[in-house]
């Protein structure tokens, strides 16, 4: 049975129990390749997907899902969603959307991933691994050398007339090298996110990873204290991404975001502008409609330090008496609708990374943080993260530093930004596709020796 037919059948049959219903389908095809010591270590191919049903009965929304997509699942989906709806007692008005008047087209440069034969992708990894291993005697082995590619499609169909679909594709290449000097072991990494295979260069990646690893050899902690910090672009974007939920209207309404009552107020240094652009060319999360079928839109979340808007889906927008910002999002067909960002980035400033570094007498350039899932609290804004990077002395990189933590409060950090670089870069997509230039912060607590 094809998806459209199956969806129609579910909507028809579900009408007996629900006022309105919606079917959401996600399918994806993936390829994963890993090499180790000149051989393909893992080769993975897959095709999978799932279907979620949600329906409103007595103003309550029930959800169900299945990965077994056939006629036999229809009754189970309807019965489960109906049963689940009975226990909802949140008074918020649930909405199955009738669709936006128009949707702005996303202009994505078409990728060429599917037309590249697997052999070429394997060869790329083999070249990458060989290049990295041969670059320096101190490269002892490769921790990971991997390629991952996906093609996904999304369908939303409901009884209010929404009938939308789109697709997305992308790939990652990742290499992590291990370098050793005696007992001293460090890792260096490099990755690329792309949609056009010709954009990536294995020599450049190998060099990046090996140089990073080597530059960290001999690292030691720095004396505990308070120091000015330059965050590498991808580090700041990872931290911003990890704190993404502070902008969610849902978190604000539930009293779980300290940005409550802060619209129109200054919450960051006036150099900082944060944009959400769902139409970004090559944006990993570019899309013209959100997971509720609402149109997406370009917006400034923070404009010159002032908070302009929260991110809304239909339900939270109705509660605040505003329009949805097109941020209705589900982690997958297994999750209910919540709120999520698309492509979000900090607008670039006018300083080069070198200028940011040279403005510091004694401080740190942080190139990696760990523990983003555990060492920060979105509710309080507090964070304390394991980090490594380099000590800056008299405006120059002096030596590698590791086994330290950086600690602060994100809301204070936003205020403490002193300069913004011109080197905007996006990091690996997790909660949205988030980018930032390198950023200088007045001071943070460092725990080291």
């Amino acid at each position: 049975m094809d998806y459209r037919q199956l969806s129609q059948e579910i909507l028809n049959r579900g009408k007996e129990k629900f006022q309105d219903l919606e079917v959401f389908i996600q399918n994806s095809k993936e390829i994963e390749i890993r090499v180790f010591k000149g051989e393909v270590d893992k080769y993975g191919i897959s095709e999978s997907g799932g279907l979620s049903l949600r329906g409103i009965s007595n103003e309550k929304m029930g959800y169900s899902y299945t990965e077994k997509l056939d006629e036999s699942s229809i009754d189970m989906l309807i019965d489960e969603a109906y049963e689940n709806s009975k226990y909802i007692d949140s008074p918020d008005k649930e909405i199955i959307f009738e669709g936006s008047d128009e949707y702005q087209e996303v202009k994505i440069k078409p990728g060429n991933l599917t037309s590249i034969p697997a052999e070429e992708k394997i060869q790329f990894l083999l070249d990458l691994e060989r290049e990295a291993l041969g670059m320096d005697k101190r490269v002892s082995s490769i921790q990971m050398c991997a390629y991952q590619e996906f093609q996904s499609e999304r369908y939303i169909m409901n009884t209010k007339g929404v009938d939308l679909s789109d697709n997305n594709s992308g790939a990652f290449v990742y290499i992590s090298v291990i370098v050793k000097d005696g007992e001293d072991t460090k890792t260096g990494l490099s990755y690329r996110i792309f949609n056009d295979f010709n954009e990536i260069d294995y020599k450049e990646m190998a060099k990046e990873a090996v140089e990073e690893g080597l530059s960290l050899l001999g690292a030691s902690p720095i004396e505990s204290g308070s120091y000015p910090i330059v965050f590498k672009n991808t580090v700041f974007s990872d931290i911003l991404s990890a704190f993404g939920s502070i902008f969610s209207a849902d978190q604000v309404q539930k009293g779980l975001s300290l940005l409550k009552d802060k619209i129109g107020k200054e919450i960051a240094c006036d150099l900082l502008t944060v944009v959400e652009d769902p139409f970004l060319a090559n944006g990993f999360y570019s899309r013209s409609f959100d997971d509720e079928g609402h149109k997406t839109m370009y917006k400034k979340i923070i404009d010159k330090g002032v908070l302009k808007t929260y991110l809304y889906n239909l339900k939270t927008a109705k509660k605040d008496g505003v329009e949805s910002t097109g941020n209705g999002s589900r982690g997958s067909y297994k999750s209910p609708i919540s709120i999520g960002p698309t492509n979000v980035y900090v607008e670039k400033g006018d300083k080069s990374l070198e200028e940011l570094i040279s403005s510091i007498d004694k401080g740190l350039y942080i190139i990696n943080v760990e523990g983003l899932h555990s060492g920060l609290n979105e509710v309080s804004g507090d964070y304390s993260l394991s980090a490594y990077g380099y000590e800056i002395e008299d405006g120059k990189i002096k030596r590698p530093v590791n086994q330290i933590t950086i600690a602060g409060n994100f809301f204070e950090t936003l205020m403490d930004i002193e300069a913004i670089g011109n080197d905007l870069e996006f990091s690996m997509p997790m909660f949205g596709y988030v980018g930032s230039p390198s950023i200088k912060v007045k001071k943070l607590s460092i725990s080291g020796e």
Partner: protein, 463 residues
């Protein structure tokens, strides 16, 4: 779940272009997740995960494919597509399925799907009331309920044809305390490989009080000092120390490639002689227990470190080949969407002979980490980090005040040598462990113990 004939045909198709091992993993899982926010049930979602993974080994190379469509036609097609990555002659194959599963280490009394949702919701509301009314500073409470019933079938060309059923239940409360424009969160989330009878074992009101107690304690806490100091870690989730600092580094996925700091160290002293560490997949009804692992090998109790000496790694089939060692029953995966690899089940440091009171009384100045949050590690360097959810400052052998916002960092090889006191009261805590083969339930555990010196990342600089 699939007929034996179909399984045989798929395994034959998988080895039609060479390779020396093929496996099929079938999963059918029902789950229910209910979320309560501010006293009201906000989401209630249930569904079915269903799919098949096919894996082929050609010496040390692994091919993995998965699909949701378990029709014979499609499975043969997927097996052949996977096989197409190999270019050799078909392997001669005689299938003789002799290895099944007749264990039942996680007996289940009440299958969750047979319980009226009203009862599940009722427990959540009771917990909410208790958590919310714990203290006026508690401004928000979120309660999550999860149950899952996973049926798997695993068959391979080495004669395994085994089924297992994994029923799990988890109940968690997150309380938020607010004061003077600041917020702090407390979390407690016990779980077990049990059905609804889990709620005869735990008291949801106690879970609620614990979450609110932590939030309330932390909102009144000062920032934690930073620097290097002795750290006392309490039992239960304190075991995340060993999990991150050492457990991941003992996984064959890293050891077999020489990319772990613990590679080539069997038989060597890698920890203080006070440390004995165990990974046990057979603890009855344990959160990380299964009868067989996700490769069909019966789970076992593995002594990893005995009196400081490294005794064993955690080994799956593929990495076992690379190492020339047998599987330790440690091949795990989140779902059919992941090829299995070596993972932990229920990992803990064994009990010693000090009491928590003695350990604190013997500490002149340092941090007592009563509850820990999550963490992570780089197995190649051994550098780890984890968060302290509830901490206290210890001065002159006494707990003086709560402190917040600390992260602990260190190096796995070094930290185990620095354990200088090990307590008596062993307890386990439940977590979700994320790695290459996905997110899986795992117990961590330890008795209270002390690390002579560890870097504490706080926000207060002066001591």
């Amino acid at each position: 779940m699939l007929s034996q004939k179909l399984i045989e045909n798929v395994l034959h198709a998988a080895l039609s272009k060479g390779g020396d091992f093929a496996e099929i993993f079938v999963e059918d899982k029902l789950s229910t997740r209910i979320r309560l926010v501010g006293g009201l049930i906000e989401n209630n979602i249930s569904g079915r995960d269903y799919g098949v993974g096919i894996r082929i080994f050609d010496k040390l190379n692994c091919i993995y494919a998965y699909t949701n469509d378990s029709s014979e036609e499609n499975l043969i097609k997927v097996a052949k597509e996977a096989a197409a990555a190999l270019k050799s002659a078909p392997m001669d194959l005689t299938l003789n399925f002799l290895k099944g599963n007749d264990r039942d280490i996680n007996p289940i009394k009440i299958i969750p799907s047979t319980v009226d949702k009203k009862n599940k919701v009722g427990l959540m509301k009771r917990a909410y009331e208790v958590a919310k009314n714990y203290d006026p500073s508690i401004t928000q409470v979120i309660v999550n309920y999860l149950d899952e019933d996973q049926k798997v079938l695993i068959a391979n060309t080495e004669g395994v044809l085994a089924e297992d059923r994994r029923v799990r239940t988890r109940f968690s409360v997150a309380s938020v305390a607010a004061k003077n424009g600041e917020m702090q969160e407390g979390f407690y989330g016990p779980g077990a490989s049990m059905g609804f009878e889990f709620f005869d074992k735990i008291d949801v009101e106690e879970v609620a009080r614990e979450a609110s107690r932590i939030a309330k304690t932390m909102i009144d806490a000062d920032y934690c000092p930073s620097g290097v100091m002795p750290v006392i870690m309490d039992n239960e989730f304190g075991g995340v120390l060993f999990h991150e600092a050492c457990g991941h580094g003992l996984e064959a996925a890293f050891v077999s490639k020489g990319t772990s700091v613990f590679a080539n160290k069997l038989g060597q002293l890698v920890a203080s002689p006070l440390v004995t560490a165990i990974d046990d997949g057979t603890i009855p009804n344990g959160w990380g227990s299964t009868n067989i692992d996700d490769e069909g090998t019966p789970t076992q109790k593995n002594i990893l470190i005995e009196n400081g000496i490294l005794k064993s790694y955690l080994i799956d089939k593929l990495n076992g080949r690379r190492m020339g060692m047998e599987s330790t029953g440690s091949g795990r995966r989140q779902s059919y969407k992941f090829a299995p690899t070596s993972r932990m089940n229920n990992t803990y440091i064994a009990a010693g002979d000090s009491s928590l009171e003695e350990i604190i009384a013997n500490t002149e100045w340092g941090l007592y980490a009563k509850k820990l949050g999550g963490g992570s590690v780089n197995p190649a360097t051994g550098d780890f980090n984890f968060a302290v959810m509830e901490g206290y400052l210890v001065e002159n052998g006494k707990i003086v005040k709560p402190v917040r916002g600390a992260t602990l960092i260190g190096n796995g090889l070094k930290v185990l040598e620095l354990i200088d006191m090990v307590g008596r009261e062993l307890d386990l805590g439940q977590g979700m462990c994320g790695a290459e083969s996905g997110s899986i339930p795992a117990n961590v555990g330890q008795p209270p113990l002390r690390i002579k010196s560890l870097t504490v990342g706080g926000r207060k600089e002066d001591k």
